[in-house]
C-alpha cells in the first residue's frame, strides 16, 4: 500500500514536471525569438519553470547564439529550446532509477540586428 501511495505521488509530480517544463520551454523560446540572446533564454527558462527547481533543469538551445544564422541576421529562422528535468525519486539512494522529463518548444525568430 505504501508503494501504491508513493507511486501516486510520483505520477502526480511527473505530471506537474511535464506541464511546467512544457510551459517553461515555450516561454524561453518566445524570449529567444524576441531577443536572440541565450542568457535571456536561460533566464526565462529558470524563471518560468516553477514549481520545479531551476538547478535541476538542464537546457539546450538549437542553434546556439554563436552559430549561424543566429550570429548574423536570424529573422525568419526557427529557434528550439529543449529542457530536461530529473525528478527526485523517494528511496533513490537505494538505487531506484530517476525519472527524466523532457520538453521542447520552437519559435520563429522575430529579432533583427
Amino acid at each position: 500500500m505504501l508503494v501504491v501511495a508513493i507511486a501516486m505521488v510520483l505520477v502526480a509530480e511527473l505530471g506537474i514536471a511535464r506541464l511546467a517544463l512544457q510551459h517553461a520551454t515555450a516561454e524561453a523560446a518566445r524570449a529567444g525569438a524576441l531577443t536572440n540572446d541565450d542568457e535571456q533564454i536561460r533566464g526565462t527558462l529558470a524563471a518560468t519553470v516553477a514549481p520545479l527547481a531551476p538547478d535541476r533543469v538542464t537546457s539546450a538551445i538549437d542553434p546556439s547564439q554563436a552559430e549561424p544564422p543566429r550570429n548574423g541576421d536570424p529573422r525568419g529562422s526557427l529557434l528550439t529550446v529543449r529542457a530536461t528535468y530529473s525528478l527526485p525519486v523517494p528511496l533513490g539512494f537505494v538505487g531506484l532509477p530517476r525519472f527524466v522529463v523532457t520538453a521542447s518548444a520552437s519559435r520563429r525568430i522575430e529579432w533583427t540586428p
Binding site: M1, A5, L19, Q22, L78, S106
Partner: protein, 143 residues
C-alpha cells in the same frame, strides 16, 4: 483465523486495485492536459510565425515605396491589397506550418489577415482553437 486473513487480503487487494486505477486515471488525465498545452503552444507559435511573415511583407512593401518615393504619380500603399495578395498569405501559411511542425503539430488551415483601424489582425484556426496576433501599423487606408 483463516477467515480474518482472507478478509484482510481481500481488503488489501481492493485498496491496491483502487490505487492502481487512480494512478492510471491520473496518468491519462495528465496526458490530456499536456496534449492540450502542447496544442495551444503550437498554435501560438504558428500564429506568431504567420504574423512575423506578414510583418516582413509589410516592411518589404514600405521599403519598395521608399525606393519609388519620388515617382510621379507617387505610389500608394494598399495595406488591404497586400494582405489579400496570395504571396503574402502563402508566406504566412508556410511560416505557420513550419513553426507548428517544429512544435510537433500539423497546421494545414488558412491564415486570415485583415486591417482594422491601425492594426493588422492575423488569425488562424488550429485544432479547433482560434489564435490571434496583432501588428500595429500606421494606417490601413491607402497613403
Amino acid at each position: 483465523m483463516r477467515g480474518e486473513r482472507g478478509q484482510a487480503l481481500l481488503i488489501a487487494a481492493l485498496i491496491i486495485g483502487i490505487g492502481a486505477l487512480a494512478i492510471v486515471g491520473l496518468r491519462l488525465a495528465q496526458d490530456r492536459v499536456l496534449a492540450s498545452a502542447e496544442t495551444q503552444s503550437a498554435g501560438e507559435a504558428a500564429v506568431e510565425a504567420a504574423a512575423a511573415a506578414i510583418a516582413d511583407a509589410y516592411i518589404a512593401e514600405i521599403d519598395s515605396l521608399r525606393v519609388h518615393a519620388f515617382d510621379v504619380p507617387r505610389p500608394t500603399f494598399d495595406v488591404a491589397g497586400m494582405l489579400a495578395h496570395p504571396a503574402t498569405l502563402d508566406a504566412a501559411r508556410a511560416a505557420a506550418s513550419e513553426a507548428a511542425a517544429r512544435n510537433g503539430a500539423v497546421f494545414d488551415g488558412l491564415v486570415k489577415a485583415r486591417c482594422v483601424g491601425a492594426t493588422i489582425e492575423i488569425e488562424i484556426s488550429h485544432a479547433g482553437r482560434q489564435h490571434r496576433a496583432a501588428l500595429p501599423v500606421d494606417s490601413c487606408s491607402r497613403r
